[in-house]
Amino acid sequence: MNRTSSILAALFAALLLTTSALVLARLSDISSAPRPDRPSITVRPPADAPTLRIGVVSRFAPNVIFAVYQPLIDHLNRQGGHHYELKLSGSYLEAVEDLKAERVAASFLGAWIYGPMASDPDLIPLVAPLNTEGVPAFRVALVTGPEGAVTGIADLRGRRVALPSPQSWSGNWLQTAALPAHGLSAADLDSLHHFDHHQTVAREVMRGAFDAGVVKQTVCEKYRDQGLRVLEWSDPIPGPPLVASAATPAEVRREIRDAMLSIRPETIQTRAKLWSQEFRNGFAAVDAAQYRRAFAADVDREGTP
């Protein structure tokens, strides 16, 4: 190798080493400017308006409760002249007490809770959510798993049955209406177990821990693809109402009702992800008479708030 080629080789090696050092330095500097992860979330600052509270029973984790109800509150804040916030209640009893004590302007109550109190003039139902058929009604179903042997309500004798919360209509429909209609009672079942959530009931039935269960319509639809089979539907009852206190000023009640009635699937389309399945179809106005009729037999129910 002569001198020229030696020089060329040395130059090439030097160039390679220098470039490698620069590349290493560049690779080692991993600093980065602050980088947004996703499109901006529009956050409306608190309105400079009187704050009113809307009650909701905290049967779930606060995160979940807010994920379901906060979009409704945001909608209210955009529509009305007041600033609304959620108020969690530990139980339905506490929720009703908050209403009567005027700690909340209105409260979301279950139909099973409000039904027996529908004649109370201090509690004024404003709206109830629409189901997928556009009716402010609510149905539950007797379901079984993919391998379930139960064929219907009449076949429940000696079976294990899972039910939702005893503080809901879903958790009581079977014992109070369905079984008696077939000449059965809870005593004819092998066992009866209440779970806090409809989803829990559906999963327990699907995995075969129970022969049958009762869940609400939205849960039936959610798990149908996974093998949950509907055996019988209940008659519809009015949906869970948003109930205002009679002490809540009329214009506030009207503001709340009008805001809720203005919710249409098309208006919330762009925010569909933020809305719970329960409220995506909008709301309809309801009155106490509907609940009195539906729950006439339960007016004197023991233990009702």
């Binding site: 190798m1 002569n2 020229t4 080629s5 060329l8 090439f12 390679l16 470039t19 490698s20 590349v23 290493l24 690779l27 080692s28 991993i30 600093s31 980065s32 400017a33 602050p34 980088r35 947004p36 992860d37 996703r38 499109p39 901006s40 979330i41 529009t42 956050v43 409306r44 984790a61 606060p62 995160n63 807010f66 994920a67 906060q70 979009p71 509150i73 945001d74 804040n77 916030e85 959620l86 108020k87 969690l88 933020l274």
Partner: protein, 493 residues
């Protein structure tokens, strides 16, 4: 110049410098490109992981903040416990800071007591509406990946969660991968260059073999060392070279044939030049025979006279036969074959033939032959032709009663044949042309112009040389120098 002496200017050097180094460069650039892409992907993945961890932790934090908002629990101890537990469970976490919507610190890890790595004012972080990630170098020289996650449900803000994750391990991983890739690239490049070097060496070795074969081709026989059989382009080159070699042999054979034909023709021409004197030599005895026949017929009964005449007739015919034998011996076409030869013997046989012509012209033809003359290795017939051409030219060049002398002598380890005449000599201006083919000073029909040209060719093919000297008007001296027989390789081409 040999192939190996070319160095970097040769094929191997140039290919190594261009192809090899270009390949190395391309591979390095490719490696770096892949490394950059992988590094970017790794950093994005780490940022995503940090954000996922932030979001997972934010669920519990939001619950705690909601509880606080609803006056259900006291937040401070609650969140501090969360932060402490989460830090313990995630060793890569360096700091956690939780701000409320107004930018007030609600909870933070012990390490989080210092300012966030982003160095942004807390109140500006509190109003962020989208998650952020950033990687920065801290004051201690350590690298930190920080996420800023606004916590909100719908439009309800709960605050901001700031997580700092150590990023030194990512940086170390990137640097480690760089060195691994660099080592790998260097190893692959070295192997590639080595393979290229060996491949080129093999290729050039084949070319070198071909060059050696070309250099050692025997021009006498066109024979060449055998080249190995190959199936690549070099093999094709070898085949074509062999074909060229075959054509060369064929051309050489054809040339030899033509050369021999020319020599033979020139020999016949020489016979033509001898014809009149030879005819005279043959006619004289024939006429004598005829006279004897006439005398015998005239007196058939004279037995003694008849016997005498028959004796004379026999002598005459013997003489004629001898002349014809000499002529035939000169004209006979023989296979050229170098052999140890006594040049004096060749001079003798030519002298006997040419002497008839010399006698007719009254030219004095003398010889001065060295009895101790060494042998030469030569083809006899070709040497006879050399001597014949030179003697006939000399006899032609002298006038009547002129003198031609043929001398042989040993000189400088070789043999010299000198043909000298006292004729007109060779003019200086034509001395460079007299050996050219078809150059003649004779009249048309008296010479072919090929004699001296052929003579020169024969002498040179025997490793000798021929010179001409003598002043114009004082005769010419042609001197043929030939190597002695020992160790002499005679060429017939």
């Amino acid at each position: 110049m040999s192939l190996s002496s070319l160095g970097p200017a040769g094929l191997r050097g140039r290919l190594l410098m261009t192809v090899g180094l270009t390949a190395v460069l391309v591979m390095m650039l490719l490696s770096w490109g892949i490394l950059y892409s992988w590094r970017l992907s790794l950093l994005r993945q780490e940022e995503g992981n940090a954000l996922a961890v932030s979001r997972a932790f934010s669920v519990a934090v939001i619950d705690a903040l909601i509880f606080a908002d609803q006056d259900l629990y006291r937040t401070e101890g609650f969140l501090d416990n969360y932060v402490e537990m989460f830090m313990e469970q995630n060793p890569r976490l360096r700091a956690i800071t939780i701000l409320d919507p107004s930018g007030r610190v609600v909870a933070r890890s012990w390490e989080g007591s210092r300012a966030p790595v982003t160095s942004a004012p807390l109140d500006t972080l509190a109003v962020l509406e989208q998650p952020l990630t950033a990687i920065t170098k801290g004051a201690e020289g350590t690298w930190v990946l920080e996420t800023v996650l606004p916590m909100a449900t719908g439009e309800r803000r709960w605050g901001v969660l700031v997580l700092a994750v150590e990023a030194d391990s990512i940086r170390a991983q990137i640097r480690r991968t760089f060195f691994q890739l660099a080592t790998f690239s260097a190893a692959v490049s070295s192997v590639m260059l080595l393979l290229l070097w060996l491949l080129l060496g093999r290729l050039l070795g084949s070319l070198r073999a071909l060059v050696t074969a070309m250099d050692t081709v025997d021009l006498k026989t066109a024979a060449m060392p055998a080249l190995p059989a190959r199936r690549d382009e070099i093999g094709i080159l070898y085949k074509h070279f062999h074909r060229m070699q075959s054509r060369l042999e064929q051309s050489r054979d054809e040339l030899l044939t033509a050369q021999h034909q020319v020599w033979h023709a020139e020999r016949l021409a020489a016979i033509g030049r001898l014809a009149s004197s030879l005819a005279h030599e043959i006619n004289n005895p024939i006429n004598g025979v005829r006279s004897c026949i006439y005398a015998i017929r005239h007196d058939l009964d004279d037995r003694e006279q008849t016997l005498e005449y028959l004796e004379m007739m026999d002598e005459g015919l013997t003489h004629a036969t001898a002349v014809i034998d000499k002529l035939l011996g000169f004209a006979r076409r023989q296979q050229a074959a170098p052999e140890p030869l006594d040049l004096n013997e060749a001079v003798d046989s030519v002298h006997r033939l040419v002497s008839y012509s010399a006698d007719r012209k009254a030219v004095r033809l003398t010889t001065d032959l060295d009895p101790a003359l060494p042998l030469v290795r030569a083809d006899r017939q070709l040497m006879v032709e050399v001597v014949m051409n030179l003697l006939l030219n000399a006899v032609d060049a002298v006038d009547q009663h002129g003198t031609v002398t043929v001398t042989t002598r040993a000189r400088n380890g070789g043999v010299e044949l000198v043909v000298a005449d006292d004729g007109h000599g060779v003019a200086t201006e034509i001395r460079d042309q007299i050996f050219d083919p078809f150059f003649t000073t004779k009249r048309t029909g008296e010479g072919t112009g090929l004699g001296l040209s052929i003579t020169l060719g024969i002498v040179q093919s025997h490793g000798g040389r021929i010179t001409v000297s003598g002043a114009p008007g004082e005769g010419a001296v042609f001197t043929v120098s030939l190597p002695a027989a020992a160790g002499v390789e005679v060429s017939t081409t």
